[in-house]
């Protein structure tokens, strides 16, 4: 049997060799630069750690290899009245991509586990927590982070307190190696400057035209066709920030979901968000 040492997770802070010192006597510019680069690499948290790949080379490059798996992300429903259903589906897809168990905390636990199971979160991987306040939801996320692969906290009434809390969550998520998701119940009137690595707005993508739907006949008629979600990347760090807002499409996933993979495709022209779709095309061409 071929025994290989397990690959060590690349964590920026787990082991830090001492920076190479410039040779004594004559100061060497190259060595000084090298030392500076090293200190930058060990202090900058972004850009490291495992990624959830989208499978699209353009997006993956923009996002630095995919969505940061050990980080905090924010999910907003679109401003339509019933977008919290699709937002929950996206959160479940992301959490399922993280692999392992997920804690789902909310003040109003109206999620339907069979639906989340279709999004990849099997009941054996789901732990639910009913909280009394939004602050308790965040505390529960923090508490559980070291023992589960992903935490999802649904926030009903965000306030300025969320900004400071998001900084704590982001730090804990990167340290514990957990995917943390703040799921907003409603589209907030003003966007808070949270410390989340990315912020996504989720809208239902309408079903394709009747001719396409005819290819997916349901039991009682033309059928609806597979469900797609229109995702607008509203905020991100790194190179993606230059291309915002960026609208992508989350097709119904292949089953079972592969870990660390979330297939995203460019939004169809004439889709849910017309303006954002062009940005997506531009990225696809890049």
């Amino acid at each position: 049997m071929n025994m290989e040492p397990a690959p060590t997770p690349s964590r920026p802070h787990s082991h830090q060799p001492s920076p190479p010192r410039p040779p004594a006597g004559r100061p060497d510019r190259r060595a000084a630069l090298e030392a500076l680069r090293h200190s930058l690499a060990t202090t900058a948290p972004a850009g490291d750690g495992p990624r959830i790949a989208t499978g699209h080379p353009g997006f993956d490059r923009l996002l630095g290899g995919g969505l940061a798996a050990h980080a905090l992300h924010e999910i907003l429903p679109a401003a339509t009245p019933h977008a919290h259903g699709p937002a929950a589906a996206f959160a479940a897809r992301l959490a399922a991509a993280a692999g392992g168990e997920t804690l789902w905390a909310s003040r109003r636990l109206d999620i339907f586990p069979p639906g989340l199971a279709l999004a990849g979160l099997a009941p054996g991987r789901l732990l639910l927590a009913r909280t009394r306040t939004d602050q308790e939801t965040l505390a529960a996320m923090e508490e559980a982070m070291e023992s589960v692969a992903a935490v999802v906290g649904e926030i009903l009434r965000p306030g300025p307190w969320l900004v400071a809390a998001s900084r704590r969550l982001q730090l804990r998520a990167s340290r514990a190696g957990t995917l943390a998701l703040i799921l907003h119940r409603e589209a907030p009137p003003t966007r808070l400057p949270t410390l989340a690595a990315t912020c996504w707005q989720v809208a239902p993508a309408p079903a394709p035209p009747a001719e396409v739907r005819a290819l997916f006949p349901g039991p009682g008629g033309s059928g609806l066709g597979p469900r797609q979600l229109a995702l607008t990347l509203a905020r991100a760090r790194g190179p993606a920030a230059m291309h915002l807002p960026l609208t992508l499409c989350l097709p119904p996933g292949p089953e079972p979901h592969a870990p660390n993979h979330l297939p995203l495709v460019p939004a169809l022209a004439g889709g849910a968000a017309g303006a954002g779709a062009r940005a997506g095309e531009r990225t696809a061409a890049a």
Partner: protein, 491 residues
Amino acid sequence: MERLARARAQANEPPLPEPLVLGTRRGSRREVAACSAAAAALGIRPGEPLAAACARVPGLQVAEAEPEADRAALTRLARWMQARISPLVALDPPDGLWLESAGASHLFGGEQRLLQRLLARLAASGITARAGLAETAGAAHALARFAPGACTIAPPHTTAEAIAPLPVAALRLQAGEAQALARLGIASIGDLLALPRAALGRRFGLALLRRLDQALGQAGEPLDHLPHETARAAAIMLAEPVAHAAALHGLIDRLAPQLARLLERRGEGARALDLLFHRIDGTIAALRAGTAAPTREPAHIARLLHLLVEDVDPGFGIEMAVLACPRAAPLAPRQLGTGPDPATLAEVADRLSARLGPGAVFRVAPRPGAFPEATVAHAPPGHPAAGSWPRHLPRPTRLLDPPERIEAIAMLPDRPPAAFRWRGRRHRVRAADGPERMHAAWWEAGADPNAVRDYFTVELEDGTRLWLYRSGDGEDPDSGDFGWHVQGLFG
């Protein structure tokens, strides 16, 4: 009376014939100590001379009362309550128990739920019980015995108002005092409170005033709490009392390893933990924590208690701390360094439960229910569910509970509506899929076996997909009223 019935039932003996009374001897006369419901319906009251009762009710069955056996049964019940309900239980002979609800009611979802579950549990064991909850032992005693309902809770700071309408006998008066008060026209505790205190003291003595003060919380009443069994308890006596919170955390850190060693020697893990702080004024502050899986990890025990200890008021100072384990389960020794620790998720579940309350952290499991809301079962956090729901049927990510009625018109028997009105707004259906027919749970008692629902997935103009159903199969009015409902929101 009920102890007798339970004992006979356990011994497989036939129940004693009715109407039944228990006789006891007081001085030279025999009187009725207790009577069955059938005897009470015939007008027999405890305290009545036995000869008079026998003369009035021909065929009255008399059995001998056994006060020692009653007391032993009461102690057994108290032990059970100490393990299951509250860490602080005191006997109130001949027929009462005092339970301290502070520090324990959070495990049951509040005081009301605690009392209801307690009474239901006792009723299931054949014990008729009444419960009262108040800020003082005296008021709780009065409410439990004399309040009109079987389960009465006096809200905080309203003890005097709560006991005012009760008769004066509720104050645990000595024999004769209640009759003397009644002769003066003082029937209720409210009448008594309206009288000048000095005059009352002169006329009836200090005992009456003391009972009144104890009921109102103006005089202390030390209760003789049942001691914990010492086999699973660790204690620290302090030479100097401590009164600040940091010291309490320090006590927990010292007690947890002690208890863990005790449990390890017994091969057990704790399922419940009691932390008792004895204050120097004789009162006890008690906390109870539950665990999702048996544990004897000192760090985990300490963390659970650290979360709860914030609520403890040290008062004048704490001179002794006891950490006891009233409920334990076998826990095999674990080898160190063999793979990931399986207990960590259970530990997180415990900590979350301690923070959020009991039942707030749970898992879900598939359940063979008929309608969607019945297909999800809640499971304790320690047991990951196996299996899943069918993968080929559309299911929403959010469920409206209860389903919301909408105004819709659709062709019978199997077409979705083209438009409907929901929450005051009109929605047009762009595309639809369905129906998926679900039949009622005919195998479950209480369900209408004929009920049918036809589920449709509809997509609105803005892309929102909703899960609608029509109750009834569209043909047979017995299967439902053909009304339309929204039950879910797709992802």
